[in-house]
Symmetry: C2
Subunit: 185 residues, 2 copies
DNA sequence: CTATTCCTTTGACATAAATCAAAAACTAAA
DNA sequence: TTTAGTTTTTGATTTATGTCAAAGGAATAG
């Protein structure tokens, strides 16, 4: 999904506003396995995925990767708390499929928020939507069996579930890849 | 914590704005065991807890209650997605200790959001803070042992952990009360 | 095209936490 | 204070999922 369609689907920006907003974004292409942010860095850029897939993950003490979220087409990708609160990121951000993204810096984003009341509204809407999604995942993880969790995954990320490594999905769902492999069969 | 202190701690409202905003809230007292919202209802009111404690919970298919969140002094309490998106609530909202709360209707809240750019900013900040907290809980639930989860609870809700029923905490942490009882010992 | 590396599946076994059941310890009411 | 109700603790057993180990398949680079 296109970024300007996404913006206007949530808030009715007029064309002047939209032009101004879009001019703050920069279009980029990233190839598979590109790392956007390392754990511990402060996230200074917000990304919008036009096409492709990204994920956030962190390393457990034992060195195992744990996927925290997937970002598909039409979604903003960042380490939310690191970007908005300028604290060290708990996660790595990685592009896992060749992607076209739009990026914007924290300072530009803040300018837009203070320049346009509508933009602030947009930001709030997107945050609440994300909050709802995280709560859904939490409920799935907390109260469902491994099998039901996989079904949640298929619903939440229908376009992504079959394009990423099994191990990434397993850790996202809080189970081992052996367990997920057995469930899929 | 007082509501006007809370508002100004996040956004520097001037006294006229603050007065206008506060006039939209209504102060109420609720006693223990009051139900504010039932599962399935659309949440039309947002609450701010000045003192006391509330919780949200839902019923699993087998009829067991599962605590979803605790709301202590200085926090907004609602069924977030139901309130902001006006969809049926997945949760019950219950006051579990005699409380003093400020309530505001969805329509008044929306008026404030559109009247004051600063209020929209406030809303975004609060949403992001909540998002961060839910992500923290998610990480605790997903990757930590029962014991570590209890330690997370003590950190996140230091003032609440010793005031609510063990069963409520156990279900919040995604474990049985027997397990929590064994951990505490 | 072939070799190396990575990813997925399968099997055997271990374990944290759930379940079931009942006793003990609080709380609140009469 | 006695009674009834609720909440917490303790014990015995079960179970879903994790861990460890190895083999089979796919993908990628040279």
């Amino acid at each position: 999904m296109n970024i300007s369609d996404f913006l206007t689907s949530i808030v009715p920006f007029d064309s002047a506003e939209l032009g101004d907003i879009l001019s703050c974004f920069e279009k980029k292409k990233f190839s598979k396995n590109t790392m956007l942010i390392e754990q511990g860095e402060i996230c200074k850029t917000l990304y919008f995925i036009e096409s492709g897939i990204g994920r956030s993950y962190f390393l457990k003490k034992d060195g195992k990767e744990v996927t925290q979220w997937f970002f598909g087409s039409g979604k903003f990708m960042s380490s939310v708390d690191s970007f908005f609160q300028q604290t060290p990121s708990l996660y790595y951000l990685e592009i896992i499929e060749d992607s076209v993204v739009y990026s914007i810096s924290k300072s530009k984003m803040d300018e837009l928020f203070s320049k346009y009341h509508k933009m602030e509204h947009f930001g709030r809407q997107v945050s609440i939507e994300m909050l709802t999604k995280v709560v859904n995942k939490l409920n799935a993880i907390q109260f469902q069996t491994a099998k039901e969790r996989y079904e949640y995954m298929l619903e939440e990320f229908p376009d992504i579930s079959h394009r990423v490594a099994l191990g990434h999905i397993a850790s996202y769902l809080g189970m081992t890849q052996e367990t997920l492999s057995r469930i899929r069969r």
